[in-house]
Each structure stands twice: as structure tokens, then as C-alpha cells.
Symmetry: C2
Subunit: 540 residues, 2 copies
Amino acid sequence: MERLLPMSPDHDPNGGNSSSPGGGQTGKEQQAAGVGILLQIMMLVLSFVLGHVLRRHKFYYLPEASASLLIGLIVGGLANVSDTETSIRTWFNFHEEFFFLFLLPPIIFQSGFSLSPKPFFSNFGAIVTFAILGTFIASVVTGVLVYLGGVMFLMYKLPFVECLMFGALISATDPVTVLSIFQELGTDVNLYALVFGESVLNDAMAISLYRTMSLVRQNASSGQNFFMVIVRFLETFVGSMSAGVGVGFISALLFKYAGLDIDNLQNLECCLFVLFPYFSYMLAEGLGLSGIVSILFTGMVMKHYTYSNLSENSQRFVSAFFHLISSLAETFIFIYMGFDIAMEQHSWSHVGFIFFSILFIGVARAANVFSCAYLVNLTRPATRKIPAKHQKALWYSGLRGAMAFALALQSVHDLPEGHGQTIFTATTAIVVLTVLLIGGSTGTMLEALQVVGDAHEVSLVEHNFQNSEGNHSYVAPSYDEDSSSGNKIKMKLKEFHKSTASFTALDRNYLTPFFTSQNGDEDDDFDEPMPTSRRGGFRH
Amino acid sequence: MERLLPMSPDHDPNGGNSSSPGGGQTGKEQQAAGVGILLQIMMLVLSFVLGHVLRRHKFYYLPEASASLLIGLIVGGLANVSDTETSIRTWFNFHEEFFFLFLLPPIIFQSGFSLSPKPFFSNFGAIVTFAILGTFIASVVTGVLVYLGGVMFLMYKLPFVECLMFGALISATDPVTVLSIFQELGTDVNLYALVFGESVLNDAMAISLYRTMSLVRQNASSGQNFFMVIVRFLETFVGSMSAGVGVGFISALLFKYAGLDIDNLQNLECCLFVLFPYFSYMLAEGLGLSGIVSILFTGMVMKHYTYSNLSENSQRFVSAFFHLISSLAETFIFIYMGFDIAMEQHSWSHVGFIFFSILFIGVARAANVFSCAYLVNLTRPATRKIPAKHQKALWYSGLRGAMAFALALQSVHDLPEGHGQTIFTATTAIVVLTVLLIGGSTGTMLEALQVVGDAHEVSLVEHNFQNSEGNHSYVAPSYDEDSSSGNKIKMKLKEFHKSTASFTALDRNYLTPFFTSQNGDEDDDFDEPMPTSRRGGFRH
């Protein structure tokens, strides 16, 4: 509580004869705290520099996230060996509060904020299918397999509900590493939109599922029925989404009518703009909903509507601002994960659990991707079907990152008798392995699948090139062909697909004119050839 | 510890039958935490909007800082009346750690970073005199008067050393409110530079003095002599300054040679840039020095050297970034101060202490300003003497803000038996009164003294107008006239004055070419007609 006050650690009055209350910390501990933060900042700087050097030399086997993780692992290992271990650990072992209040919100907001509307909306049906249905499938499959593994004594046995919780948290895929490589190599915009859209939305789904399962576990004794579980899930998901969208719309109207862009009040504009996401996050938390889900949708709405009501300077600033803080938060999370893994006394009795978990999440992701792709392809015309190589790339891209780690950290508190610890250890191991292995091999995989340098290749240099006409055929798919098959499911799926198409129309005809100050047809948001990743250089 | 996890407050498993450790917080408390932060964000938004409306209508009696303080006072008062009081208070009553780790560093850095070099360096001697010698005089005078007041039973009696500590902390003046009005009304650049430079540098002086006195108090029994006190003070001040300047120089060299500005890596550039100030802060803390002093000098060095090594986009971004976060932090601090003052159960037995303190700090500031101005005028040629009306404006501008509040918060821990509490109550009262009264009347005062609309008037609209030639006569003062008086002190003062002039030459001939990539004569930093305040719109 009193660390880092402007009082010198050497001469801490609390260590002296002062009668101040709670002065339990010695000067040495305070010094260690300072050294701990210094170390963290140096690791951050090192990560950025190393990542930059690696990228400049086109060394794709160690992306930035992997580099950060490795730096954390190495420093953690060194600290573990040295004597100062305990005092440094106390500073690294920070509370989840910091994680959830300061690190996660900017990352999630940036996910939503950096979604490029055009490829996202043209693949909206597929993305929603993968994110909602697919994550549900993956969670259940993982949960059931882990439970069966436990029953068959292959691995540590967990209760069924806890297996489902593990399934939910481990189904949250992370976009960072894969996408930075996608962008670096230049890949098909539709594949990019699928991978990005899925990994962003499935965080929201995974957290809602996790929370629902946590409720089920808690109320198992009070005899809640399955129906109530579904209601609770919808309550969390839809409620959070509505809160997020609502806050986003309010911000759009505020900026539309406040006229701040005319008055040259860039600082005021930016201050207000950066407060809204956090407002959305806290509103959802205050209402007992999920802040993460809410801030994600706020990000999407604010990018789509509020953003275009800003002055040009502020637009440039807020993009750079959210990019900056999410980069810092992400890098910090990867460093922290590496450090934590090196510092923790992991019980290696979990090694079987880890091994089979990895196997099972691979199976579960296959069940997710290929079944959902089958469903999506049923509704799409022949020209727009998701090709098999894209499905494989999507399957391969499912590495686990910050969200899985955060939920696992949470589960340590939620679950009794070391079950949470087992899940946490397994999750951190899975995160490290997938980040290092999948992250390191994505380039090779993309080349092997021949999806590199596809039609809509975009390199960093060509960012400003306007090829929005190039993939125009994807935007307005023709629904009139191939509809004679008469399959009932197919019909329903097509109706859903049409509803997403009509959402685009709704957006264009009503929402955009109402919430933004731009004219209906000059859509500023749609001129980006490719969504920007959360790392790497960005356009000017 | 477990507040604000993504777990629903309503259905918190820790409140249920979970066996997780440390689950002492109930769902209700978690909800209150969410509501508390929501409230804070809404107050921030309200402050920005209200401040904007007031400024737009040119209502100078309630500047933004005063508005924020009032909003805090009102909401605090309402919360005090309502039933939810206790739960909201737990969230507002945050630790000093948050204050010192997250709120103060950006404000202090921005102080240094927004210093405009030209008027600052041309008035360097005067500013240093006011900040170092003047703050010392003000601290000692206040301390002695408060002690005498105690001895004469006019006010609560404190030990002499604690009186000096109080004198030191209350001598830290705050630039925010006064300067925003100065800038709004347009005043003489030299007066502006004096007020700004003094209030920035005297924070560093006040904190060093406070710490030195704190050490003296602590080691009173161990028989330290006066000489050691001086050494300790110099150690803290010079050590912190060197650390800050050193980190600034390192950053300048890094950006000069890394070549990030060529490669279009704006995000990487900005990430690294924003890490350095914090690094400086933590380095000083880790070394047992003052982080505040260190980060201030890092800000000055980074603005002067590192900044010009950035790409143009990054320059624009980092200026806006530090402006943004310091605005947020400042507004938050003023809201928080207001809220805290409304919530605390102040014992009004301190009312005498408050009354006489205000009287004494007025006297002490007069001793500071007029004696230092006399000394400075001894060395200056007749054309450059500080006029009496500027001295009066300077005397009047000494309102107390965040730094005094922070140190008073600190003193609650440092001092025994409610002495700290007395100082804290007095300081908060002084902060509120000076912010509201001085802040509200600065416009009137400037008009009464006829320093409004002086020679170098700059309005917000004219920011880009390059009038750097206009006050050129101030930069190279002619030292060869008026040197025949032969007074010894006068000679010494002039030597000091010359050394500051030679510092300008050193900077121009050696430091700038070495640490920046620009040519010697095209000095990018010097084209700003007037330093930007930490609030208000900024140039593009």
C-alpha cells in the first residue's frame, strides 16, 4: 500500500521510529518494488526492440508475442535462480485486479475498434457462425473429452461442470500473433476477416460460457434447470452486448451534436473519446454483466459510427492511442505470462493433463472449424464457398493467449481444492506451447497451404492503396442462384444470411445517417483495403 | 483484491459456497466498486464538458480546475448525505500508490515536456532563482511563522521540524489553473515563462525540501548535524536531476540512431517514447531518489532533444498523448480532492490553523517573490528588469494544487499523533480556497494589473503564427552595459547569469548537434510563439 511513495526507500520513516499505522514494509521491500517495475519496463523496451529487429529481418519463426513470452521466461528463470527471487516475485505476482482493470480492457476494445467493417460485414454470417456456434461446439467437445479423459484415468479427473469451464476458457483464441504474421505476409482478405473476426468475437462467447458454467457449478445444489442456464447465458451475452452497443451509440450522438470537431478542441474530443470505452466496461460490470463483452461491442460501434464524427486530427490520434496502449498491454501480458510460468512451482504431475488437453483442443477446434465451415458453405453460392485450404488455415490459427490466461487466473479463485491450479497450469502451458509453436510456424503453414500472396495481397507499404473495388463481388452476394435444393436447414441458414445482409442495408440507410454526420454514400469507413493488425506499423 | 473480475457481482461464487481463499468481499461491495468507478468516469466527463462550456462562454470566474473541484465537492456532499456513502467511500478513498504511480508522473512529465525552451531559457536565471532560492525562503518563512503561531497559541502547535515540513509542502505551487487563464487571456511571454517555470521547478524543490525535513525529523535523535542535512538535500536534488537528465539523453541517442522515423514505425516509436519517462521515474525511486524530480527533468530533456528525433507523425502523437493523459490525471485529481474534502470528517478545531496558514503563506510568498525579484533585477539591464506589476502577478499566482495535496497525503503517514491529519486538513482547505478564489479571480487580477494583451499576446487561434522574431531581443541580452557598479554580490549574480547564457551556447553548439539529428541552425523547437498550457485546445 505504501510502496513507491516519493519517500526514499533507504530512509523510509516507516522503517524507523514513526508511529504511522500499517508501516510493515521495510525499505528493502520498497527498493525491490522499484527494481521490479524497472525490470518490467526494461523487458517491455527489450521486447519492442527485439520484435522490431526480428520483423525487420523477416524472421517469422519468432513473432513479437513469442519474443515477449521468451523474454519473460528467461528473466523469470534467471530471477528464480538468483537470490532476489522472493522480493521480485512479490511484485510480478500482481493482482488480477490490475489485469482486468488496466490490461485487458484496452486490448479487447482495440480488437473491436480495429475491425475493418467491409470484410467483416461481408463475412458476418460466417464469423458469427464460427464465433458463437463454433466456440460452443469447441467448448463442449473439449469439456466432454477432458471429462472422459479423467474418467478413463488418462488425466487428472475434474467434475463435469469444471471440465466444461475449462473447455470454455481454453476455447478463447488469441488473434495477436497469427494476425501480425498474416498481415506481414499478405494473405486473402476474406481469410483474414474470418480469422480476426472469429478470434475477436469468440472471446466474448468464451467468457459468457465460462461464467454460465461457473454459475451452474455454484448453483448445482439449488437445482437449477437447463433452461435457466440458457436464460442466464443469453442474459449475460445479450445484456452486455446491448450495454456496449448502447454506450457506443450515445458516444456517436454526443460527438455528432457537440460540434467539437469544428472548434479545434482536439484534446477535449480525445479525452471524452477515450473515456467512453471504460465507461462501457464499468457500466456492464456495475450491472452484473460482462465488461469484456460490452467493451468489445463498444469498440465496434465507436469505430463504425463515433469515429467518423471526430475531427481528422483526433481520428488519427485515437487510432494511434488505442493501438499504443493495446500494444503495451499485450506485450506486458505476454512478458508476464512467461515470467509467471518460469516463477511458479508447477507440479509436473499435471503433465498428462497438459498433453491430453492439447490433443483435445486440437480435436475440438477441428470439430468447430470444419462443421461450421460446412454449414456456412451450405448457404453460400459456389463462388463464395470457404475453400478447404482456408478451413485448414483457420483450424491452425487457433492459438491461445491473454483471454484464456485471464480466465484461468480467474478459475484459481473460482474452483476449489487445487482444481483451479491444475487448470491454470495447463492453460499457461498451452498458451506457451501454442504461442511458440503455432506462432513460429504460421508463416510456413500459410506458405504450405498456398494462401500467401493471394488475390488481395496487401503489404505494409501499400496500405494507402484503395482496392476497395477489388473484392466488391464479396459484398453483395447473389442469393437468387442455387436456391432450388429445398433443404429446410439450408433455407433457414439462408434466411439468417439474408438478415445479416439486411443488417448491412439497415446500417447504410438508417444507422449511419442517424449516428454520423457524414452523407449516406461517402462512407469513410469503408476505404481501408485491409484491417490493421494490433501490431506492426500503421497507416498514416 | 477481487473487485471487478469478469465474474458477475450478483452471482459471485466467493459469496456462495465456494472454498476459494480470501473471498471476503460480498457481491454488494463489488457492485459498489463498479458504481464508484462509473461515478468517477461520469464526473470526469461532466468536468470536461462543463469546463468546455464555461470556456466557450468566456466565463473566467470558474476555470476547469475549479469546476472539477466543485463537481467533486458536490458529488461528495451528495454521497455523504445518501445511504450508499460507506461503500462509495471505500472506492474513492484510494491508496496513495495509485496517486503516485499513475496520476502524478504524467502531470509532472507534462510540466517539463510542455516547457517552451525559448522564453524559458531566456528567463532561466530568474526562474531558477524563484524556484530554488524563492521556494527555500517561502518554506522557511512559512515554517517559522507556523511554529511561532503555535508557540503563541494562535494555532495548533507542531514541532519545529514538522512546521518546516508543512512549509515545504505548502510551498509547491500549481500551474494548471492560472496558466490556462494566462493563455486564454493572452499575456506577456516573459511573465508567462516566469509563472510557469517557477511553478514547475518549485515542485521539485518542494519535494526535496520536504524529504530532507522528513529525514531530519526521523534522525533527530541520532544527532545529525546541519551539514549532513544540506548534503542529503543536494544528494536528493542533484541525484534525481542527473538521473532524469541521463535517461533523457539516453532516449535522445536511442531515437537518433535507431532510425525508426525513417521506417514508418510510428507505433514502435511511440511505445518506446512513452516508456522512458516512467523508466526515469522508477530508476530514481529504485536508487532512493525522487522520481518526481527525475521525471520532470526527463520531460525537459526529452522535449528539447529526443522529440526532434521523432518522425513528424510521432511528434504530433506524443504531444497529444501526454497532453491527454495529464489532462485526465489533473482533472481526476481535482475531482478527487473535492470529493475527499466533502467526505472526510474534518475536525473544525483546525479552523484557526487553516486561517493563519493562509495568512502565513501569503506573507511567505511575498518574501519569496519580492526578494528574489530584487536579486534578479540587480543583475538585469534596465530594459529587462521584472516590472512591479509582473511581480505582483507572480505573487498572486501562487495557488496550491496536486503536489501540495500529494505531499500532505504523504505526511499523514510520516507524522505521528494526528499531526499529519492536521496538516492534511489544512492543506486540502488551502488547496480548495486558493483554487476557487485565486483561480476565479486571476482574470480580474491580470486586467487590474494591466498585463493582459501585452506585447506578445497570443490567442488560441493564432497558434501557428510564427512570431519568434518578435521577442528576439530577450534572448541575447547585452551584458556589457551597466557593469561598472562593482558590487560584489551583483558581480557574482551576473556570473551566474552569464553561466546560464553560456548554457544556451553550450546547448546550441554541442548538445543539440550531438543528441539530435537536426542541423545546428534550423532549431525546430524554437518556433513556438508561446508554451501550450496543459489544458485547452492545442496546435496542429
